[in-house]
């Protein structure tokens, strides 16, 4: 009989969702583009944790793959944006 | 079963595989090895023509042992019909395939003279376009239809921009944006149909329709309606066709030539689905497939196309409006309905595709005679930077044999094209209009003919008349008015495709009897799709079995 885990999972999911909301507010508000990039990166990390939590909930390993991919490449988008801000283009000649 | 029949069994998939393999293998050779690419392209296009001709022949019921009733069903992957994807070939698809193959060969040959050099990968894109069109004509699966429409659209995006230049890019931007939106609509429609009916196979869909629950039925109809709009967009129906004159008018002429069958993919899809969806359930087709709508839309399309021919100042744009007119005529005719109308409309379709195809190529040659001619065709020769120079090792004017009497050829061809698109005798355009008009009269009692018949008559004849005025004006302007006409150097490989297409229309005129025998059956099978449904759902050739499928882990 496990009573705690489902609650903890729900709690965690909601907490992550709130964390995403925080990030989204930053994403919407800015003020600078760099803030948005940072917020986007945070969104990705939070999503990854949400996916992992979902994986725990359903006991399915396939969520791990998604998390793995986010861990591996979630940063590319924000890195590219930051590079764009820094150098004016993503791929320099 | 010997090897020959074994290969023959795979014939329905040839029109898709040949261009695919050709287009892909061309990429193995660098751009500079044009000759190799050209040879591959020619072989593939010829093979495609052969396959299409074979299929059209098969569809006439020539091989009842293999494909009874002339309906060839090819189960891709060996999976039975509602589950796997099937290719279905009947008379209608046979005709369309053949038409496409002919057009492909002629425009390819035409393009060999100069247009293929205007940008990289022309040949591959061209093959993929052919593949997409063939696939759309062959597939019996709704989503697969979407995929092939995407294939042909993607290739057409590339080809419409082939040669670049401001006019093309501007037109291409609109073309792409609208068609992307159209693809979304198509997707929504297809998925809604799936959501309501649980199947994607068109024949299966038709079979399931009567048993749908009321709510599902409405959802299905909404889906079908949305789908219909997407097809109308592809067919160039008003008010979804404003991109067409610019895009077709700006595209490279051989590209525009093969494009003239692209709008017919939409018409084909409307016909096919309309036939299947309206067929066995007896409840009538959903809105955009239904007759009244098509009729009205077709009329306005025809009006726009006709008015456009009168206002167009640039020849290629004028031909683009002719394409709209042809779409309008087709939709009006199909909307009118009636027993003989479908076959008459099919004849018109064949004739008008050949005509506009030839016309597109012709206009470019004619425009070359205008020394002061400016327009899209001048663009590709402009080089934007030092690295954009056209390869001097293959100068513009050294391919092929120059034909004599170029002006006479151009003039005669222009007249022939005019006759074809306006429906004046003696070429097949006239026969087509005659068939349309007489099919419209096809009712037991003359006195009870509905008003719509007379509207059709007035529209068809009126558009012919205005077409005569417009094309006469254009012809006079192009050939006779200009002070600075230069006799162009026409290559045989440029003139021959136009000549071949025109001769085909002449042949179509002479052979209207056999042609109509074929098309009448094609048309009537559309009115009674049960045979199609049965053929698809009862399975394909005997070679299919599941016994050697891979086992589990």
């Amino acid at each position: 009989m496990t009573a705690l885990l489902p609650w903890a999972i729900s709690f965690a999911l909601i907490a992550f969702a709130f964390a995403m909301i925080c990030a989204a507010i930053r994403l919407l508000r800015g003020p600078a583009a760099e803030d948005r990039v940072l917020a986007l990166d945070t969104l990705y990390v939070n999503s990854m944790m949400t996916v992992l939590t979902l994986g725990i909930q359903y006991g399915a390993r396939l969520y791990f793959d998604i998390a793995l991919l986010i861990a591996l490449f979630g940063f590319v988008g924000s890195a590219a944006m930051a590079k764009f801000l820094l150098r004016g283009e993503v791929i320099e000649p | 079963m010997n090897d020959w029949t074994q290969l023959l069994q795979h014939l329905p998939v040839f029109p898709i595989v040949i261009p695919l393999v050709a287009g892909a293998s061309m990429l193995l050779f660098v751009e500079a090895r044009r000759t190799t690419r050209t040879i591959i392209a020619l072989i593939a296009t010829l093979a495609n023509l052969g396959a299409a001709a074979g299929l059209a022949y098969v569809a006439s019921g020539a091989m009842p042992g293999l494909w009874p009733e002339g309906i060839a069903v090819y189960l891709l992957g060996g999976w039975d019909a509602p589950f796997g994807i099937v290719l279905v070939l009947d008379r209608l698809s046979g005709v369309m395939l053949l038409l496409n193959a002919v057009l492909a060969l002629t425009s390819l040959v035409y393009a060999l003279a100069r247009w293929k050099k205007m940008g990289p990968h022309f040949q591959s894109l061209f093959q993929f376009l052919v593949m997409g069109i063939n696939g759309a004509f062959l597939t019996g699966d709704l989503f697969n239809l979407f995929v092939f429409i995407e294939v042909l659209l993607a290739a057409s995006y590339g080809l419409v921009l082939h040669g670049l230049g401001e006019v093309r890019v501007r037109a291409g931007l609109h073309y792409i944006a609208i068609n992307l939106a159209g693809s979304f609509i198509l997707l929504i429609g297809i998925s809604l149909i799936y959501g309501a009916s649980g199947t994607l196979n068109m024949a299966d869909l038709a079979a399931r329709l009567p048993a749908l629950a009321e709510g599902d039925r409405i959802l299905f109809e909404i889906g079908a309606a949305i789908l219909g709009v997407a097809f109308l967009l592809k067919a160039g129906a008003w008010p979804l066709n404003f991109w067409l004159p610019s895009a077709y008018g700006a595209a490279a002429p051989p590209v525009a030539a093969i494009f003239s069958i692209m709008t017919k993919v939409g018409v084909y899809a409307l016909l096919r689905l309309g036939s299947l969806l309206a067929g066995p359930s007896g409840a009538g087709a959903p809105a955009p497939f239904s007759d009244g709508w098509l009729f009205g839309i077709g009329l306005i399309t025809l009006a726009l196309g006709t008015a456009g021919t009168l206002t167009a100042r640039q020849p290629q744009r004028l031909v683009a409006y002719c394409v709209i007119s042809s779409a309008g005529t087709l939709l009006t005719a199909l909307g009118l309905g009636g027993a003989g109308m479908k076959s008459a409309a099919l004849f018109y379709l064949v004739s008008s595709v050949l005509a506009t195809g030839a016309f597109f190529m012709l206009t470019e040659m004619i425009e070359r005679t205008q020394r002061s001619g400016e327009g899209a065709q001048a663009e590709p020769f402009e080089s934007f930077g030092p690295e954009d120079q056209i390869d001097p090792s293959l100068p513009d004017e050294d391919v092929g044999i120059v034909i004599p009497a170029a002006m006479a050829f151009l003039g005669m061809s222009f007249i022939a094209c005019t006759l074809l698109v306006t429906g004046l005798p003696p070429l097949s355009g006239f026969i087509a209009k005659f068939l349309l008009l007489s099919a419209a009269l096809d009712s037991p009692l003359l006195a009870t003919l509905p008003v719509s018949v007379w509207v059709l008559w007035a529209a068809v004849l009126g558009s012919s008349l205005i077409g005569v005025i417009a094309l006469c004006h254009m012809g006079v302007r192009l050939f006779w008015s200009s002070e600075e006409i230069v006799t162009p150097q026409l290559r045989l490989i440029e003139a021959a495709p136009v000549a071949v297409l025109l001769l085909l229309t002449a042949a179509l005129t002479a052979g209207v009897g056999p042609a109509m025998d074929y098309l009448t059956l094609a048309g009537s099978s559309l009115s009674s799709p049960q045979m199609y449904i049965d053929a698809v759902l009862t399975g394909g050739p005997p070679i299919v079995s599941h016994e050697i499928k891979g086992g589990g882990q």
């Binding site: 909930q57 359903y58 399915a60 396939l62 | 989503f143 995929v147 995407e150 993607a154 995006y157 921009l161 670049l164 230049g165 401001e166 890019v169 501007r170 291409g172 931007l173 609109h174 792409i176 944006a177 992307l180 939106a181 693809s183 979304f184 997707l187 929504i188 297809i190 998925s191 809604l192 799936y194 959501g195 994607l200 589990g552 882990q553």
Partner: protein, 114 residues
């Protein structure tokens, strides 16, 4: 759950359509990408939504279709995603070419109507 899902589609569609009707090329491409999310979700929804029923057959159990989500729309969405990506790329390049040639990022290539 369904209502949230439906609303999500609605919001994405609304934003996408709004952007699609804007006059700037970049707005249009953003609209197309938002619309593609919406359409993908829509297609996906056509197989009904289900939690914890990934259509990956458990080899140890009896195959019971009702335990799994409908795989067909998923396959369709995959195709749609790929095609969507491809067309976005293409549209992007065309809009860049248009910007370069016409000197404006208006969809009509001129600033006739702001």
């Amino acid at each position: 759950m369904e209502i949230t899902y439906a609303l999500a589609i609605g919001v994405l569609t609304g934003s996408g359509v709004w952007l699609l009707l804007r006059p700037r090329t970049f707005q249009v491409i953003m609209g197309l990408s938002l619309l593609s999310y919406a359409v993908n979700l829509f297609i996906f929804g056509m197989g009904r939504i289900m939690e914890g029923g990934a259509p990956i057959i458990d080899t140890l159990k009896q195959i019971d279709p009702s335990l799994y989500d409908d795989p067909v729309p998923q396959a369709l969405v995959l195709t749609a995603i790929v095609i969507g990506f491809a067309t976005t790329a293409l549209f992007l390049v065309v809009l860049l070419a248009s910007r370069g040639l016409t000197g404006t990022d208006h969809v009509d290539g001129d600033e006739s109507e702001p």
